[in-house]
């Protein structure tokens, strides 16, 4: 944060700013000193903001035409697709937008894992981010229920039944969630209400996420603390805004590719069959972005155990800043951790793949191996590697490796001999 006090040039601006310092905030956001070495992995924050706004705008429009009733919901979605002017476009943007949102958030999270952005002093940013991620999953799940197709209905049945695994009060909680004795009209109605609410909760958390970010400032690919402002930083505008805008354009091309050429490839065809409480589809799968967790759930042959493990897989991320014992943030300087990082990436992708396959034979074996590694990575690998690893020398500043032009900076700080 630049310390110099901002003064609006115009008299009216000054009058207003004295009463509500919005212009000071605007100046802070414009001048905000940003590390000059941010790469394209750092553009996903902006992309995610775009995704959220896209979902809110298209969602508000869809809600003008959608009817949240078990007898009418499916028909109203088809009405949007066939009768409403550009309804097909708006719905396809909204449904594919959810997938694009998750694609971006996964890249954003793995960026943080690679460059150690979750570590001190950025733990609170990380935790708020995870809360956003949890709300995103809730919103996406409830949104998927709204068209009231077969996958909507049975997805809702399976997910709400997860709560019935809770000892003693499980069944009461499930009935309470449903508002009926099965997934039914009351369930659809409340899911619509909550689906509309959650994006605004996310918006509030995004403000906190950015606020918490602006206290220590951005991490960067080298992962070292930098002086702000200094020769290691550039103002957010125009340097970062133009880079974000370029990345966003590329992202929008991919997004548009899905919307216009394969709008249903990420969905499931069974969801174009109206919900039928008497027939379960032969093969229930959640949306792709939930598959790794689904694989973990199914890898355990016990109901309560599976549910506990699945929720643990998410909640373990909350204590990650304290499981990682390494003082070096960026994996660029962590030769051992870097390899485990890529194993984790492959592990999560594999879990996603087996989550889409039937839970039997080799897929079940792979799911179990993948689940075990997932937890080992966080519980064992992260603390132990942090202690034992001999890290590479890290540079004194961002400018240094550039100016001295080598990977062997003469002034390199030696952090490898036990931090």
């Amino acid at each position: 944060m630049s310390e110099h006090e901002y003064t609006p040039k115009s008299k009216a601006g000054k009058w207003f700013n004295d009463r509500l310092p919005l212009l000071t905030l605007g100046a802070h956001l414009t001048d905000y000193p940003t590390p000059k070495n941010l790469n394209y992995w750092w553009t996903f924050g902006g992309i995610l903001t775009f995704c959220l706004i896209t979902q809110i705008v298209t969602g508000i429009v869809l809600a003008m035409h959608y009817v949240a009733h078990a007898d009418l919901a499916f028909a109203s979605v088809e009405h949007i697709m066939r009768d409403v002017n550009y309804g097909w476009l708006i719905r396809y943007i909204h449904s594919n937008g959810a997938s694009m949102f998750f694609l971006a958030v996964y890249i954003h999270i793995f960026r943080s894992l690679f460059y150690g952005s979750y570590k001190s002093p950025r733990e609170v940013i990380w935790i708020i981010g995870l809360m956003i991620y949890l709300l995103m999953m809730a919103a996406a799940f409830m949104g998927y229920v709204l068209p009231w197709g077969q996958m909507s209905f049975w997805g809702a049945t399976v997910i709400t039944n997860l709560f019935s695994a809770i000892p003693l009060v499980g069944d009461s909680i499930t009935t309470w969630l449903w508002g009926a004795y099965s997934v039914d009209n009351p369930t659809l109605n409340r899911f619509f209400s909550l689906h509309y609410l959650i994006p605004f909760l996310i918006l509030g958390l995004v403000v906190l996420h950015i606020w918490a970010l602006h206290v220590p400032g951005n991490n960067n690919p080298v992962g070292i603390d930098i002086k702000k402002p200094s020769k290691d930083t550039v103002p957010f505008h125009p340097y970062i805004t133009i880079k974000d805008a370029f990345a966003l354009l590329v992202f929008m091309i991919i997004f548009a590719g899905f919307v216009f050429f394969t709008p249903n490839v990420l969905g499931h065809s069974d969801n174009y069959i109206p919900a039928n409480p008497l027939v379960t589809p032969a093969h229930i799968v959640p949306e792709w972005y939930l598959l790794p967790f689904y694989a973990i759930l199914r890898s355990v042959p016990d109901k309560l155990g599976g549910v506990i493990l699945m929720f643990s897989a998410i909640f373990i991320l909350f204590v990650l800043p304290w499981l990682d014992t390494s003082k070096v943030r960026s994996a660029v300087f962590r030769p051992i951790y870097r390899q485990f990082f890529w194993i984790l990436v492959i592990d999560v992708l594999m879990l996603g793949y087996v989550g889409a396959m039937p839970a039997e034979g080799i897929y079940l074996v792979l799911a179990r191996v993948g689940t075990i590694y997932y937890f080992l990575h966080f519980i064992i690998v992260m603390p132990v590697v942090g202690y034992l690893e001999k890290t590479d020398p890290i540079p004194m500043s961002i400018s240094e490796p550039v100016l001295t032009g080598g990977a062997e900076p003469s002034l390199a700080r030696k952090v490898n001999d036990k931090v």
């Binding site: 049975w154 049945t157 039944n161 099965s182 997934v183 409480p277 199914r298 039997e360």
Partner: protein, 173 residues
């Protein structure tokens, strides 16, 4: 000095009393907000269903909807009943005698919720390793008495409250 001490105590009492009344008030407001999500009167009114069973031949079954959930009504053959009763209790993850899952004297009628006790899918009939039902979602196998034999489901399929109104009619609920 003692006067001041007394004052402090009096204030403490007021604080505690205020917090208590406040907490009760908040609770009184929150409870209706929570309870409104429980099944309403209209949902509860759907609590019973009567089913005509005169057209079901031995070995066949029908599925009816009760409280939004499928109920299987199966008229079992003597062989199937014998098979269900021959099972060793030690082989059952959730031990329950077949006799306890049907009405006395109406042994051929198995009436149960067609809901997998794992995560609520509808199992498929005449499938699985135990000549009963098989849930396609996560691979639970049920026997001819609807008892869990293999897979992630923790308990047998549930027997709802039901009664024979007459020899051709069953009332569920």
């Amino acid at each position: 000095m003692s006067k001041e001490e007394k004052k402090v105590k009096r204030r403490d009492f007021l604080f505690t009393a205020s917090y208590t009344v406040g907490a009760v008030g908040v609770g009184a407001v929150i409870w209706p907000m929570i309870d409104q999500m429980n099944p309403d009167k209209a949902q509860q009114a759907l609590a019973t269903t009567e089913v005509d069973i005169s057209n079901i031949d031995p070995g066949k079954s029908i599925t009816v909807l009760w409280r939004g959930k499928p109920v299987f009504l199966k008229r079992r053959t003597p062989e199937e009943i014998a098979e269900a009763r021959a099972v060793n209790m030690d082989d059952l993850p959730d031990p329950q005698k077949d006799e306890d899952r049907v009405k006395v004297g109406k042994d051929e009628w198995l009436v149960m919720l067609g809901v997998c006790t794992h995560l609520g899918c509808v199992p498929l009939k005449d499938k699985g390793d135990f000549n009963g039902w098989f849930c396609p979602c996560h691979g639970s196998h049920y026997d001819v008495s609807g008892r869990i034999r293999k897979g992630p489901a923790p308990t047998n399929m549930e027997i709802p409250k039901f009664e024979f109104v007459d020899s051709n009619t069953i009332k569920i609920g």
